[in-house]
């Protein structure tokens, strides 16, 4: 039995697949591809598939991760080719390898967020509103967790890696805590920004948000996969 860590891309049409739907989609892809995946034992055996870090609906990514075990005479490379042949073009494996790090090693994830300008708000106005927002001493937000809601200070949690004014919007790169113990969605920071604008600068608006995950990282800053 060979443990495999697959990296896959989720783009365009595939970014609207929810995490639950993605798991079902992958299970079926293994059947279609006739890749000998290991089944759990017990009363109701099912294909063992593990996604260490879920991706929010609407986010694109080239660095999603999925673990499984090969339970038959097939190389990882062949398994990847066979899976890609039955997966939609917007959902494709890009790499397979033996897992090195443990799931619990995941500590951060990097994101790219683009906020589009709307009519009436120029990129410069949006940028300066953002600078004011992020310059606050604390940015408190309610976060839903499995055990109810908790207040987090996003100022402490979010690292701003880059802020760039575009012709028609604002481009951010963020590093957020990720993993099994603490996980903060960058969408929460954007929600906080929207709430801040409503409170302090109602004339400033932004349109669509384009979001992508750029990397899944360990505590030492190295790539998880």
């Amino acid at each position: 039995m060979i443990p495999v860590r697959a990296t896959f891309a989720k783009r365009r049409r595939a970014k609207y697949i929810s995490h639950l739907d993605l798991m079902r989609c992958m299970q079926r892809a293994f059947r279609r591809a006739e890749v000998p995946i290991w089944f759990t034992e017990g009363f109701n055996p099912h294909a063992y598939l593990m996604f260490p870090l879920a991706l929010s609906l609407g986010y694109e990514s080239d660095c999603e991760c999925m673990d499984f075990r090969l339970d038959g005479p097939m190389s990882m490379q062949t398994a990847m080719e066979r899976l890609n042949a039955v997966l939609p073009p917007d959902l494709q494996l890009v790499k397979v390898a033996e897992p090195v790090r443990k799931h619990t090693d995941i500590a951060f994830a990097d994101y790219s967020i683009c906020l589009d300008c709307t009519e009436g708000t120029s990129a410069d106005v949006l940028r300066s509103a953002w600078d004011d927002f992020i310059g606050q001493n604390t940015i408190l937000m309610e976060k839903r967790t499995k055990r109810g809601t908790a207040t987090v200070d996003l100022k402490q949690q979010a690292q701003i890696l880059m802020t760039q004014t575009l012709e028609d919007g604002l481009w951010l790169k963020l590093r957020m805590p990720a993993g099994t113990s603490v996980n903060v969605n960058p969408g929460l920071l954007i929600d906080a920004f929207r709430a801040y604008l409503e409170q302090n600068a109602p004339h400033v608006q932004y349109g669509m948000m384009r979001a992508a995950r750029l990397a899944i990282l360990c505590a030492d800053g190295s790539d998880f996969v």
């Binding site: 365009r12 929810s18 739907d21 079926r28 293994f30 006739e34 609906l57 997966l87 589009d116 669509m208």
Partner: protein, 621 residues
């Protein structure tokens, strides 16, 4: 492609995966190689429409032709519809994400009368004129429909260029071939429609005039030009050889029936007098077990589904069912595939097979006696006896089940209060049997759910002449049920409000005058009428009144045998004379044996030219 315009909007709606396509199994083609584009529209939400086998079959059949491209279209839910209208997004197809207005065919499947307003809404969202007469002489788009409700398309005749009657696998392609040829030659819409009407199974409503008597009944239906006086439905030439989908579009989002489905037989031998499907889909044809197994296996492999279901009106009427089940179980057990078996009578199975099925999955037991008393079951020709019900329940109880769901109807012809009370009596006898069983499952308690639907008389059944019960009659019977069930702790009864069934009855047996009613109801805001949270009976009543019509005329009126019915010019192989004979027998509470026991001379063999069942030697003894 509308992708760039749709994308910013999708994250603000529920379950966006329904609106963006890209699923495994969806067919992409290069527009340059495609000559005819077909938008297959299901007039309900994605999760309902994606469960429909007919769409998967025709999607596959059309897309097998490289020069034709069939794409899927569903009714957007109300939240996305509002977004589409606010941002001027026209109704688009899920594969190309291109507006269906520019397609060659816009084809709807008609599964249920209460989806008619959704059709108008989808045409409106697409930007296509709703009325056929307003579409002009450009050949495209041809707005067409098929499916079971096409057997009486008169209420929606104003909106369609043509209807497909019967099975679509072959006639759809013939019509597309004709279109392909005539479009290239520069033909107009009416030229094309006149030619299409010559193909068997194609009904072009604009080629007929209907006149009415003063009492509202039909005086005459007159074909224009050389349109045929009657239009006969199509059936496929060879059920074993017909093209079946080797793969499905496998959705990301969960849908109602999310599994592989293999069709095992078409038609029904039973002849239940209330059942439209039992007459519409004649003759009875079954697939050979080896073909069923091969097709099911391929489908499971190509879709990756972990569940397989069999589709038919009555799977247990397959003459080689044990062989078929054996073959299916052989690969489903090996590949960890759940086999689910709807419409299956378990009482004639061997214990060995029962045990294997149970090991695969134990889903709840359902049984449809349809009527509480034996007399009324004889009237409707539902040839199940109480003994069979008891035997089936006993097998299921012995196997560890404790809940049984029973389906009944109320408002059946000749029904009395005694028949209603008999529903509860019958359910109680199942309860009594449970308590009489020594080997009943320990630690469980028996629960009988009796679901009682309001009967809707349908075209092409012996009951097409009957009035539907009035609201008052149904209310009385529901109250009687409620009182009777008191004190029966193990029995739960459920029913729906009758308004939906009344509208269904009106639309099912309606004529062309209902076209303006449907249009007005939609304009007043009626949509998703099949969904109780959207259903607005009051608006429908207004729309009827505005057009000088009454629901009673269509729902609660008895038709005489010599009345011209709105669907009399459509030929579904079964003779009107047969329906009259069956109705007479119903009133006398006489049963008719099923087709395998004895040919009922319904009219089918006159068209097919051969008996439905070869007479076998051992049966002659």
């Amino acid at each position: 492609m509308l992708f760039e315009r749709i994308e910013p909007l999708l994250l603000n709606v529920q379950k966006p995966a329904r609106y963006i396509g890209g699923e495994p199994g969806s067919i992409m083609k290069d527009k340059k190689d495609v000559r005819v584009r077909f938008a297959f529209c299901f007039p309900d939400r994605y999760d309902v429409g994606m469960s429909h086998l007919g769409m998967k079959i025709l999607y596959s059949v059309i897309n097998h032709r490289p020069e034709y491209w069939c794409e899927r279209v569903f009714a957007p839910d109300v939240d996305f519809e509002a977004v589409m209208r606010a941002h001027n997004i026209p109704l688009y197809a899920l594969e190309s994400l291109e507006p269906i207005k520019d397609f060659d065919f816009i084809g709807f499947t008609l599964q249920y009368e209460l989806c008619y307003t959704n059709i108008l809404n989808m045409l409106d969202l697409a930007g296509v004129p709703l009325l056929q007469k307003d579409r002009g002489e450009d050949i495209a788009p041809i707005v067409c429909a098929g499916g079971s409700c096409a057997c009486n398309p008169e209420p929606i005749a104003d909106f369609f260029d043509l209807f497909f009657l019967g099975e679509g696998e072959e006639v759809d392609l013939e019509v597309m071939d004709l279109y392909d040829k005539m479009k290239a030659a520069g033909a107009t819409r009416s030229e094309f429609l006149r030619e299409a009407a010559k193909i068997e199974g194609v009904y072009v409503p604009s080629l007929y005039d209907v006149s009415y008597h003063e009492d509202g009944t039909i005086a005459a239906l007159t074909p224009k030009g050389d349109a045929p006086q009657t239009v006969r439905k199509r059936i496929i030439s060879d059920f074993d050889k017909v093209d079946v989908p080797e793969e499905f579009v496998v959705p990301f989002a969960e849908i109602v029936h999310d599994r592989a489905v293999t069709e095992v037989l078409r038609g029904c031998i039973r002849g239940c007098r209330f059942c439209q499907a039992g007459f519409l889909y004649r003759p009875f044809r079954e697939k050979a077990p080896e073909i069923i197994c091969e097709q099911a296996k391929t489908l499971c492999q190509r879709t990756g589904y972990e569940e397989l279901s069999l589709c038919s009106l009555s799977t247990s009427d397959h003459s080689r069912i044990e062989e078929m089940m054996d073959g299916l179980l052989t690969f489903t057990e090996r590949d960890h595939i759940n086999l689910s078996l709807p419409s299956l009578r378990v009482d004639n199975f061997s214990t060995a097979l029962m045990n294997r099925i149970r090991r695969v999955r134990s889903s709840g037991l359902t049984f449809a006696p349809e009527a509480g008393s034996q007399r009324l079951r004889d009237v409707i020709n539902k040839n199940v006896t109480e003994e069979e019900l008891m035997r089936t329940c006993k097998i299921a109880f012995a196997a560890g089940q404790a809940t049984v769901k029973l389906y009944f109807m109320m408002g059946l012809p000749t029904e009395t209060d005694e028949d209603i009370i008999a529903i509860i009596d019958l359910a109680q006898r199942v309860v009594d049997m449970w308590f009489g069983m020594e080997d009943r499952p320990k630690g469980k308690s028996v629960q009988i759910s009796a679901s009682v639907a309001t009967f809707v008389p349908k075209p092409f059944t012996p009951f097409q002449f009957h009035p539907q019960d009035t609201v008052e009659m149904i209310a009385h019977k529901q109250k009687l049920l409620e009182e009777t069930v008191k004190g029966h702790k193990r029995i739960r009864v459920s029913w729906h409000s009758p308004e939906t069934s009344i509208l269904e009855a009106v639309l099912a047996r309606g004529d062309r005058r209902l076209g303006s009613v449907i249009l007005d109801a939609w304009k007043k805001g009626c949509l998703f009428d099949a969904w109780s949270e959207h259903f607005r009976f009051d608006l429908w009543q207004q729309a009827m009144a505005d057009n000088g019509l009454t629901m009673e005329f269509y729902a609660n009126r008895a038709r005489s045998y010599d009345e011209i019915l709105p669907w009399d010019h459509l030929d579904y192989y079964v003779d009107k004379a047969f329906f009259i004979k069956e109705n007479e027998k119903a009133i006398a509470a006489q049963t008719t044996p099923h087709c395998r026991m004895q040919c009922t001379a319904c009219g089918v063999t006159k068209v097919t030219g051969k008996p439905c069942f070869p007479v076998q030697k051992e049966e002659k003894v």
